[in-house]
């Protein structure tokens, strides 16, 4: 689809849940009635003021929104180019953007009379957010987490347990995020009556990609008025940048700017050890091709025979061989640009944020920051970049220590 044939980039998905050819509802018949029910309930909630009133109240008093928009002045000075702002979603309750979406889905689940919540998690941030909101509402919570991730994100596993969730280590497949999602789907087809599947990113069958995007869009909406407040009425960012696992923090930042053509949009995928034929990365758009997995058509890392490959990244939260279908569409239409950042580059950005700004970032947004480090020096001082600092690094300090060769007894 050519750029000039699209009136708006904000009108998707269509009735079939498609963004161009991407998205859709590729699920087993058992689940089909459930996702149709969810879609109907979400459509009702979207225009129901009491739903948004409840969200706003919890966003403010429970999550701590709005999150600050922070001018990173020393980083700006150090890089010597564009003016850099960080959207501080790492200050949210539970330490990442994930809770923005979880609140929305759990309120929907309650409206639908569901009593048992299941979720998949990679880094554990979505699992922690889900366990947290379930504790708050007295709902039973079961979190599927790849056995490999249970090991590398141990602090989050303990957090989820403290919050009363049952954490099930997934050993099927290769024991990572995609396998956790498989097992969550297997749980859902088994427990269709009482269970709500709370997906953590803008992936899965329609309506999840659109619904999760809508809940995360609070990020970009806040950036719009916050930047106007700090830089003057009508001032939009020149560039917005976010890291992409499934793509929810990125969609949340990007969506409110899709129809502002002067705003450049950049998504940063995890380049792992480098995007080449060895495929030790998670850059689905750069290194993958369209396929069907987990309920939607999107770019996937796969072999010539359509078998899905494992991703590879230092960051458990980016370690997913797919990407949300709306990103696939934004990529193909050219509205957004997608780049990749290696583990080594992300580690460098991680350290720079610590030393210059006193902010310990999660490894996921460290990827976004690493790309800021690449482009900021080439841009003029009046060019405003907003990057999504979508998570804090507490969960990652052991991983980082190991990579820096520091022994720690955690």
């Amino acid at each position: 689809m050519a750029d000039d044939l699209i009136n708006s980039f904000m009108s998707g998905p269509d009735e079939q849940g498609r963004f161009g050819i991407f998205g859709g509802r590729f699920v087993s018949e058992t689940l089909m009635p459930l996702i149709l029910d969810l879609e109907a309930e979400y459509e009702r909630a979207k225009t129901d003021e009491s739903f948004w009133a409840e969200m706003d109240d919890l966003w403010k008093h429970y999550v701590g929104r709005p999150s600050p928009l922070y001018h990173a002045s020393r980083l700006t000075q150090h890089l010597g180019g564009a003016k850099i702002y960080m959207k501080r979603d790492e200050l949210n309750h539970t330490g990442a953007h994930k809770i923005n979406n979880v609140l929305g889905q759990i309120i929907l689940a309650r409206r639908m009379g569901k009593t048992r919540i299941i979720a998949e998690t990679g880094a554990g941030q979505h699992g922690v957010a889900t366990a947290t909101v379930c504790a708050k509402f007295g709902l039973k919570c079961v979190v599927y987490m790849g056995a490999h991730d249970v090991e590398r994100q141990a602090p989050n596993v303990f957090r989820m347990k403290l919050l009363g969730a049952e954490v099930i280590p997934v050993t099927s497949g290769r024991g990572t995020l995609k396998d956790a999602m498989n097992d969550a789907l297997r749980d859902w087809v088994t427990n269709v009556r009482d269970t709500f599947y709370c997906i953590g990113t803008v992936a899965g069958p329609h309506p999840y990609p659109a619904m999760v995007r809508d809940f995360q869009s609070i990020i970009g909406k806040e950036v719009r008025w916050q930047l106007a407040e700090q830089e003057g009425e009508g001032r939009l960012p020149d560039t917005v940048i976010a890291a992409i696992g499934g793509g929810s923090n990125a969609m949340g930042l990007f969506y409110p700017f899709l129809d502002d053509p002067e705003v450049k949009i950049i998504g940063v995928e995890a380049g792992g050890k480098g995007v080449d034929e060895k495929m030790e990365h998670c850059a689905s758009l750069t290194g993958g091709r369209p396929g069907v997995l987990h309920g939607n058509r999107t770019y996937l890392l796969q072999d010539d025979d359509g078998q899905i490959l494992e991703g590879f990244s230092i960051s458990a939260g980016l370690d997913y061989p797919g990407i949300g279908p709306e990103h696939a569409w934004l990529h193909d239409t050219g509205r957004a640009e997608y780049v990749s950042i290696t583990d080594a580059e992300a580690l460098e950005a991680f350290q720079l944020s610590c030393s210059l700004e006193g902010i310990i970032p999660a490894l996921e947004p460290s990827h976004a920051l690493a790309h800021v480090m690449k482009i900021a020096p080439t841009l003029p001082a009046d060019h405003i970049i907003v990057m999504n600092m979508c998570g804090r690094g507490d969960k990652d300090i052991f991983t980082v220590a190991r990579h820096l060769g520091v022994e720690m007894n955690g």
């Binding site: 018949e29 058992t30 459930l34 297997r186 087809v189 025979d305 359509g306 899905i308």
Partner: protein, 263 residues
């Protein structure tokens, strides 16, 4: 008329229930699975469901997940699975073969190319778990046009409002999944299945075959008795996993077939 249609017509004429056996292509290796496949019709298996391995089998329990992994680890590919059917067809031109699996390997190959190759190999029908009626334009309609049956799953969550949509573009037979759950999970009771099958049969002339959770000849008899036949998968795959010889596996399938045929 496909081989599937002919088989069900002749079973009906004989007043016999159908027995459908599932095995995974390439499990534990290509030669062994082809040997099992060749031995099944002689043991009374009416229809063969041949699994196409996929890395992410979201509707399958551990038994079939592991079978798929064994096959993939052994180098099974879609081309090899198609070749396997072609090899089977050299000695058997009547037993229907239905390929069962997930959409991505087919989409990756290209739908038109796959359908041409599947027909050429002697495949009669497809069961693709992650293609509900909402996605019929993807493969279902092109498959029917290419002369293959597209067999749909109906489940306990398929209510009366939705059933017509599920049946609309279905052909060959209807596969009723007796439980909400994954393959290899606990079995349903014939008393629970009977009214569901009756509900579906009231809405279609196609045979209704019931699967999921059937593991013994007695259960095969019970379930087949309230439908037009039954499917067994995980129980047979388990025999293969335990290292039984192709003849032993086929004999086990034969005992299940005898159960279904005695209904």
């Amino acid at each position: 008329m496909t081989r599937i249609d002919r088989k069900f017509a002749s079973l009906k004429a004989e007043g016999k229930k159908a027995f459908v056996a599932y095995i995974m292509a390439g499990d534990p290796d290509l030669e062994t699975s082809l040997e099992v496949m060749k031995a099944l019709p002689g043991q009374g298996v009416d229809v063969i469901e041949l699994g196409m391995p996929f890395t992410d089998p979201m509707a399958d329990g551990p038994t079939i997940q592991l079978a798929g992994q064994r096959a993939l680890d052994g180098g099974q590919t879609l081309t090899k699975t198609l070749d396997m059917v072609a090899a089977f067809r050299k000695g058997d031109d009547t037993t229907p073969v239905v390929m069962m699996g997930y959409y991505n390997p087919i989409y990756s190959r290209g739908v038109d190319r796959f359908l041409a190759e599947a027909r050429e190999a002697g495949i009669d029908g497809l069961i693709i778990v992650d293609l509900p009626p909402e996605e019929d334009d993807e493969l279902c309609i092109p498959a029917q046009k290419a002369g293959l049956n597209f067999i749909r799953l109906a489940t306990p969550t398929t209510d009366d409002r939705r059933l017509p949509k599920v049946l609309q573009n279905t052909s060959g037979f209807v596969y009723y999944v007796s439980i909400t759950g994954i393959t290899g999970a606990a079995a349903a009771q014939a008393t629970d299945v009977a009214p569901e099958v009756a509900r579906i049969k009231a809405a279609t002339d196609l045979p209704v075959i019931v699967g999921f959770g059937i593991t013994t000849p007695e259960a095969a008899k019970q379930i087949a008795g309230v439908a037009d036949g039954c499917v067994v998968g995980s129980a047979i795959v388990k025999e293969i996993a335990s290292g039984k010889s192709p003849a032993e596996v086929a004999a086990f399938a034969g005992s299940l077939a005898a159960g279904a045929h005695s209904a």
